[in-house]
């Protein structure tokens, strides 16, 4: 079919469709593959009709949310129609007493949280790109943030979904109630599948009440082994923090800037006075939410543990400062806690057991220093999650990429003893060298079969996922 015929078909399926300019399409290229059309359906039915048409005519569909993670994964083998979910952006229902909501997937995380917050609740999921990123993009990549320590990941929070399958059929999984074991738990399968099995169009979510109070306690410790030990002590205590982070020296230093605030320590804009570590110090950050009384008690207990663990500086942040510092930390590594005037950063994540975090910090620290490349690290420690960011002034040179490739091999070898190491934002040349996803551990056959059965024509995001699925 010619591009004109495709535009005409899309025009008949999607209200308000206007063919995009050549420049606009070029800007939507996925890892260098330029699409022929971009379309934004205004309803689930219109989305389904678009996918059905693409499937029948053999076009590859690239679902898109806020566009913050379009470079995740391998380059697609085909990319014909970019299907944007930006118009599917409503909170369809929110029942506070049930602690549930039904939401269209194209809503940005920021708008979702603002909407839920009006009625005293929130979705306890705080991934990077929380401003422009959409719920659908977060679910497709199973992105998570600090709150996973206490509330889990998207797989723990989505209770039902409406999914547009590769042939355009709309199916439902789960339900609208917080407890439900009817049928297979297909929600889990779709979440984190990078849109390769179906497009999440609408989801039912389990919510939490907004806490009355929140506070951060930051302690600085000179050595990573001692910082990890400190975090283990908090885990094993009665504190039960809502999050527990360990930050590398570079990240700690930027965090110290956030804590001081734009007015450098002025109380009026939420800045907090106080020294927060020296050059080579790590930081342990514990977050407490709840009522004032429990937050007070936890902060006191936590400070005692920090001091006993050898923390040099301990700073407590609440009120406006708490929200500002939290926003900075949440944005890491997607923009928060990064130095100014740097070129495009390379980001990765690892999932290991908590006692595997220290080794990854050491490897990344040694490796980046050897390469003279900037490196920031933040670990959601109790979940064994480590986010890495590598940067330099200007773009990476060929020799940098070579060095990073060898460092990533080491990080992957160390991670895959128990867990995973995934390259997220990175130049195509680097991804080609080290791969993106790592090992599917003997389950490749099952995953390929799932893809083949759910998307026999390879309509959805072909080639971008694990093992080139």
């Amino acid at each position: 079919m010619s591009d004109e015929a495709l535009h005409s078909r899309l025009g008949s399926l999607v209200e308000g469709y206007v063919p995009a300019s050549r420049e606009a399409l070029a800007s939507l290229a996925v890892e260098g593959v330029v699409p022929s059309a971009v379309v934004a359906p205004g309803s689930v039915e219109s989305l389904a009709a678009t996918v059905q048409m693409a499937s029948e005519l053999g076009y590859a569909v690239i679902p898109r949310g806020g566009g913050t993670k379009m470079d995740f994964g391998h380059p697609p083998s085909h990319a014909d129609i970019v299907v944007s979910l930006e118009r599917l952006n409503r909170i369809v229902a929110h029942e506070p007493a049930d602690q549930t909501a039904t939401v269209e997937a194209g809503i940005t995380m920021a708008r979702l949280q603002a909407g839920l917050g009006k009625r005293g609740q929130f979705l306890p999921l705080d991934p990077p790109h929380g401003d422009a990123g959409t719920l659908g993009g977060v679910l497709a990549t199973n992105a998570s943030g600090m709150l996973r320590t206490s509330f889990g990941t998207a797989r723990d929070l989505v209770i039902g979904a409406r999914v547009v399958q590769a042939d355009g059929t709309v199916v439902r999984s789960g339900g609208q109630v917080v407890k439900n074991v009817a049928g297979y738990d297909l929600n889990k399968m779709y979440i984190g599948s990078l849109g390769t099995l179906g497009i999440l169009a609408e989801v039912n979510l389990k919510l939490q009440p907004l806490p009355a109070a929140g506070r951060l306690l930051i302690g600085t410790i000179a050595e990573i082994g001692e910082a990890a030990e400190c975090a283990f002590r908090v885990m094993d205590s009665e504190v039960m923090p809502s999050f527990l982070e360990v930050a590398s020296p570079a990240t700690r230093s930027l965090l110290a800037g956030e804590v001081a605030g734009p007015g450098a320590g002025s109380r009026s804009d939420g800045g907090v006075e106080g020294h927060l570590g020296d050059d080579r110090d790590f930081a342990v950050v514990a977050g407490m939410i709840g009522t004032d009384e429990t937050v007070d008690w936890q902060a006191g207990e936590c400070e005692r543990i920090f001091r006993d663990s050898g923390a040099a500086d301990v700073i407590s942040v609440d009120g406006d400062g708490y929200r500002r510092v939290l926003d900075g930390m949440r944005a890491f590594p997607g923009g928060g806690l990064l130095p100014q005037d740097m070129g495009p950063a390379v980001t990765c994540r690892a999932g290991v057991t908590p006692d595997g975090v220290e080794a990854l910090f050491r490897l990344a620290d040694e490796g980046s220093r050897r390469l003279s490349i900037g490196c920031g690290l933040l670990s959601h420690f109790a979940s064994g999650h480590v986010a890495f960011v590598f940067y330099r002034d200007g773009t990476f040179r060929e020799s940098d990429l070579e060095g990073l490739a060898s460092l990533f091999e080491d990080l992957r070898n160390a991670s895959e003893e128990q867990g995973i190491f995934v390259v997220e934002h990175a130049p195509a040349a680097l991804k080609e060298r080290v791969g993106v996803w790592g090992s599917s551990r003997g389950n490749r056959h099952i995953m390929e079969m799932l893809k083949n059965r759910f998307d026999p024509k390879g309509t959805l995001n072909p080639g971008r996922f694990v093992d080139g699925i």
Partner: protein, 481 residues
């Protein structure tokens, strides 16, 4: 391969002492906690290792003989009802806690480990395994994983899937693999998430890494008494609507109170129409403030009395009475039939009215003991299984209640599973395309349909969408009589 040859081959692998096939010994394995449906397996085997399970499954796969895994047999939906001509793989001898890693707060257990044993083993160090089904003193973690079990305390902490990091699986062709593992976030599709709650239909879980959770510092447990079921029901939604997340919020009605009191003499008020058990957990600091907020909500909803469990002993007795409530219901009639519907918690007043009306309409005694905070009802219908008319009415009343749950925006099962019992109710909540998606998954894992066949999916496909889905009664008469 005939039956004798099969038994011989299984005995070669496991030893004769780990294979039983004598009809009188098989009677125990004819059913699980859903005694209304029965079917004897060809044989029952007791593997002791993952390799044993894999060897058995390879034999069965080669001979195309269906099989079903079984834990303690406490399931309530016929999930481990043996398939015709099938072999039952009992995992009760795989009951080792392989490794407890307190530092990383996780444990590796075999599928046959009893749920409560893990919490007892780790309790001394201040940890527990959160899912706490009422049968936890007997049920196995493998069974919890198959059914994605809940329990009273899952209101705050989540169900089995939220506490399971990885599962070792013997696939239906006998291959062994891990989905997930000791660490979180395995690469690729979430096969771990798919496996949990798949009712033994995608393979057999032999070992699992599960999360251990720090025991709370403090708790407050209340028994709140109401003169009207309606008031108690409203109090449930009000507590949660006020932004309070109790660790457990259970309701017991008058019929069940009578049965429990007769059995365990806890001191429940016999003249109350309903009581709520509300438990708060957390830090000592601030807990009394929260407790006062809960008490206020209860008083606003016309609670006639609020009692507090004085010590750990009283609290334990209260929970024991609650968790063994179904057993106590046995005092009221020769048999009882428990349902497991769910409604949004704001609809509890509505569903309680439906249950009352249904009891009246069919002239049946229905007791209610359930996870009100989750909206997960457990109407327990007392009946005499020797009375065919009453048995028929029991199933019909059950149907009617589950239909009402769906009409109120809920589901037909919150924690017991579809099993065999509710296969023909699936069309109430899923259409043909929804069910096909699930069958696609089944076919990927188990093309030959050997692993626990006959469960979950509706048998009468012409019925889909026609709105006449109901629990099969006719097939059951033989078993009931």
């Amino acid at each position: 391969m005939n039956k004798d040859q099969l038994v011989e081959r299984l005995a070669d692998v496991l030893g004769r002492e780990n294979v039983i096939d004598a009809p009188d010994q098989l009677i125990v394995y004819e059913c699980d906690g859903l005694t209304i449906d029965r079917n004897a397996p060809h044989a029952v085997v007791y593997p002791t290792t993952t390799e044993d399970v894999a060897a058995v499954v390879r034999i069965l796969h080669e001979a195309r003989i269906p099989f079903v895994a079984r834990g303690a047999g406490t399931g309530l939906s016929g999930g481990s009802l043996p398939p015709d001509g099938g072999v039952m793989i009992a995992l009760t001898k795989m009951n080792r806690i392989v490794e407890v890693d307190f530092r990383n707060q996780r444990a590796l257990v075999e599928a046959g480990v009893v749920n409560l044993h893990l919490s007892k083993e780790t309790g001394k160090q201040g940890y527990h395994f959160v899912p706490d089904p009422s049968s936890q003193y007997a049920c196995t973690i493998g069974g919890n994983i198959a059914e994605n079990s809940g329990g009273p305390h899952t209101l705050k902490y989540g169900v089995t899937t939220n506490h399971t990091l990885g599962v070792e699986v013997v696939l239906p062709d006998g291959q062994v693999t891990w989905f997930g593992g000791k660490a979180e976030d395995a690469v690729g599709y979430d096969l771990r998430g798919l496996m949990i709650g798949s009712e033994g239909m995608l393979g057999i879980v032999t070992r699992a890494w599960v999360k251990l959770t720090r025991l709370p510092q403090a708790w407050r447990t209340f028994l709140v008494v109401f003169d009207q079921v309606e008031d108690a029901s409203r109090a449930v939604a009000s507590v949660v609507g006020r932004g309070i997340v109790p660790s457990a919020l259970e309701m017991i009605d008058k019929v069940a109170i009578g049965a429990i009191e007769a059995a365990y003499h806890f001191g429940f008020p016999l003249d109350a129409e309903a009581v709520l058990i509300i438990e708060l957990e957390g830090h000592e600091a601030g807990l009394d403030t929260q407790a006062e907020a809960v008490a206020e909500v209860c008083r606003e909803n016309r609670a006639s009395d609020i009692r507090t469990a004085e010590d750990e002993k009283e609290r334990a007795l209260l929970w024991m009475s609650r968790k063994r409530a179904f057993g106590a219901m046995g005092r009221l009639s020769p048999s009882y039939y428990v349902q497991d519907g769910v409604v949004p918690r704001t609809k509890i007043p509505d569903i309680m009215r439906v249950i009352q009306e249904t009891a009246g309409k069919y002239d049946l005694l229905i007791g209610n003991v359930f996870h009100a905070g989750d909206g997960n009802i457990h109407p327990c219908i007392a009946y005499d299984d020797r009375d065919e008319e009453q048995a028929r009415k029991t199933v019909e009343a059950s149907n009617e209640i589950l239909r009402a749950c769906v009409d109120l925006g809920g589901s037909i099962t919150g924690e017991h599973g579809i099993g065999y019992e509710k296969v023909d109710l699936m069309p109430l909540i899923f259409n043909e395309a929804d069910i096909e998606a699930m069958e696609t998954v089944k076919a990927v894992f188990d093309e030959e349909n050997l692993s626990n066949p006959g469960k979950m999916f509706p048998t009468n496909r012409t019925c889909i969408g026609c709105g006449t889905a109901e629990l099969k009664y006719t097939n059951r008469q033989a078993a009931l009589l």
